[in-house]
Amino acid sequence: MSKVLGLKCKECGEVYATNGIHVCELCFGPLEVALDYDHIRSVISREKIENGPISLWRYVDLLPVESGWDSDVRVGFTPLQYAPRLGAAIGLKNLYVKNDSVNPTYSFKDRPVAIAVTKARELGYTVFACASTGNLASAVAAAGVKAEMETYVFLPSDVEAGKITNAAVYGANLIAVNGTYDQLNRLCSEIADEEEWAFCNINVRPYYAEGSKTLAFETVEQLGWRAPDHVVVPIASGALYTKIAQGFEEMVTVGLIDGQSVRVSGAQAAGCGPVAAAFAAGEDAFEPVRQPETVAKSLAIGNPADGNYSLEVARRTGGVIESVTDAETVEGIKLLAATEGIFTEAAGGVTIATLRKLAANGAIGEDEVTVAYVTGNGLKTQEAVDGHVSVTMTIQPTIGSFEDALEDKQEAVLAQAAR
């Protein structure tokens, strides 16, 4: 008996076989995987999961792949780090950081890609592709190497240098597009219609998106099989955000926890915050942003596919979707590094800055068990902190030079304290 019932239209409910398709033939609504929860409930248990691989594959019963998954690649089961110093700095007593910047290619994208590449092979594809804002490209390129698939990754030509290098090194066909992410995403949709490729966030998107649920599963397990009270998740397309919410719900549905009432809050950049703007205005539908302007390029999606569903999740769960400026984002990066020793990319800075804002305005209660999702590594977007961090002192290789410099520094600190 299969755990997957088929693909189901999120809008009209039409059901399809599990092929490489992503939209409903009748209404163009997005397709999502329909799981057989009764069956899953009968085979899943906490003990089985705890004895499983130290990776997202410990939750394979809740993922839409039948076989062939690669347990050698350690994707997921990343640290859920208690964050008392960051909590004290922003006024939260029970704060955790889910540090997903330590996956194989240093972002959460390794999770959805692990599912997408496995499913793509099950379906018989030989070419694996994506439309990326940066992180997805390296995840797809690396996964393609081990899966022995040819890879095509499309990126905006203005993404950070580290993201180009990190994708190119794996030998992918890397195509830089002179345009916004939304423009290249539309282009890739047209390519996906002509080529027999598995485009992970287009024609195999229903499977791909399921991978992000594992961030919720791990959080529950790592908290000792309980759901948090509040989470803060970055929103680009909204797929991560909505799938984390779904993950908490599935934990209850299959009987792994008795209940949950997680408030799911979202983080966007002010220069590309269509979902946050619609949330603030009380609208059910977002207005697209034509030209995103933000330091957080991995969140620069002006026309988010799951934007309206994100609004629905926020309102249903009692969450808030907020946006922050580039200056607040940089402060967020520095604050997380200085308090918890984690260097996150600009999108993580957006998340931490939003967390701080929601703590300050009371949207997150100080006693709530809160989890902030840090989804990418700071070494990928060093440009974001250029000019904001620097060498403390440059000296000659002598003890005298060091002592002089240290004295100068201490005097400067005292002078500043006196002002």
């Binding site: 163009f28 423009q183 539309r186 949709s189 047209e190 219609d193 539908a285």
Partner: protein, 90 residues
Amino acid sequence: MATVRIPSQLRNLVDGERKLRVTGGTIRAILDEIDAKHPGIKNRVLDEKGEPSAFVGVYVGGEDIRFLGGLDAEVPADAEVSIVPAAAGG
């Protein structure tokens, strides 16, 4: 004549064609023109209010018609119009 690229999901309505040539003028006029020849297209691209569906993107020369005046977006004679499912990316 402008060109309209038809996504795979709609090709069954247009005898399997990938591209159609239209006289056009505006997106509204183009959809009327195609629907007259291939009934059903408008129903799939527009919502119940007659506005472009949230689940379909319509582009003129790669630009989203929501930034060009919606259904009144002008379509130059040599333009390429794309109809693309919206549920992608991220």
